[in-house]
């Protein structure tokens, strides 16, 4: 039964996903392409590309798309496929949600305690490091172009980067406005 399988596989993917969407891609590929044959490697590459250019967490994007395609491939009508997509997406979320609720409740209850306070005082500087690391790792050829391949794209990207950084940091421009502005700039410039 395809719906049960989707539920099981995406629940598993959800609970084993530590460290953000990109970390879960290899896990999803293994389950969806290799083990269950719900889509081909090419289709999977497509969905990664689509996920990067659509809003939302990449894990949800993948689950929605896989749920839809798997049910269609199994020969069911479109409305069943839509249900499959929603089921797969919710399957990713529910187990971590229950875990998160328990942890949050514990923390909200004990947030005055000395031990919790001292643990979080150490962890806050770590989070600053984590964000810096995430930004550093994204300063890649995929996001900025390479200076040797296309100097123009690279220079425009660097300018947009500083524009966005200064705009949100110093002039407190809302991030959504910033994304729209940069998207518009890309459309006009390229």
């Amino acid at each position: 039964m395809i719906f049960l399988e989707l539920f099981y596989v995406f629940s598993k993917i959800g609970i084993f996903n530590f460290g953000g969407g990109y970390a879960m891609l290899s896990l999803i590929q293994d389950e969806v392409v290799n083990k269950h044959g719900w889509m081909t490697v090419n289709e999977f590459t497509d969905i990664v590309a689509i996920s990067q250019s659509t809003p939302g967490p990449i894990g949800i994007n993948c689950a929605t798309y896989t749920g839809y395609t798997a049910v269609v491939h199994a020969g069911y009508p479109t409305w069943m496929a839509v249900l499959g997509a929603i089921l797969a997406s919710l399957s990713v979320v529910w187990l971590p949600f229950i875990l998160m609720v328990s942890i949050s409740k514990f923390l909200i209850k004990h947030h005055e305690s000395k031990v919790v306070t001292s643990v979080f005082a150490t962890l806050r500087p770590v989070i600053v490091g984590l964000l810096a690391a995430a930004a550093l790792m994204l300063m890649s050829k995929e996001n900025f172009g390479s200076p040797t391949d296309s100097t123009f794209v690279f220079v425009v990207s660097v300018v947009l980067f500083f524009f966005a950084f200064v705009g949100t940091r110093l002039y407190k421009v809302h991030p959504i406005i910033m994304i729209l502005l940069c998207g518009l700039a890309g459309l006009v410039i390229y």
Partner: protein, 177 residues
Amino acid sequence: MGIYTDIFLTFAKIGSFTLGGGYAMVQMMEKEVVDKKQWLTHEEFMDTLVVAQSTPGLFAIDMASHIGLKLKGVRGGIVGALATAVPSIVAILLIAMFFQTFKDNVYVEKVFMGVRPCVVALILAPCFGMAKKAKLTKFNCWIPIVTALLIVAFGVSPIWCILVAGVGGFVWGRVKK
């Protein structure tokens, strides 16, 4: 506007503009949830980041459930988590059903060539504000630097950094007492 509607609309808005993974929405979420709505203080927001990063599940969804939970218990958490996921599910469903060629569209690609560097800047920007709020001094400013170095240069998983720092903070708290 009821509080549930408010939670739903806020996180649906954040979910709609989250491009390029969970970290990119940190800046946006801080602006909406801390500055505008004042649901959390800056310190509480950073603690939420720690919890979301060290538990399984999607970063953005974890953040939304924790904040929703803080406001209105389990029901608030469910509303927050669903609101973050809904824009994503709708967008992908539409693409899967109608726009198979979406990603090959020249204009879409152009827009995203402009958006990608912006997303990187949005991830970097909150670092500086948070450095102040994390009460960085000359005694602990090595912590974020070492963390970033371990992750970028040595490929250490962020989970390990959080675990080690958490245990360190626990021990330090005991010793100080």
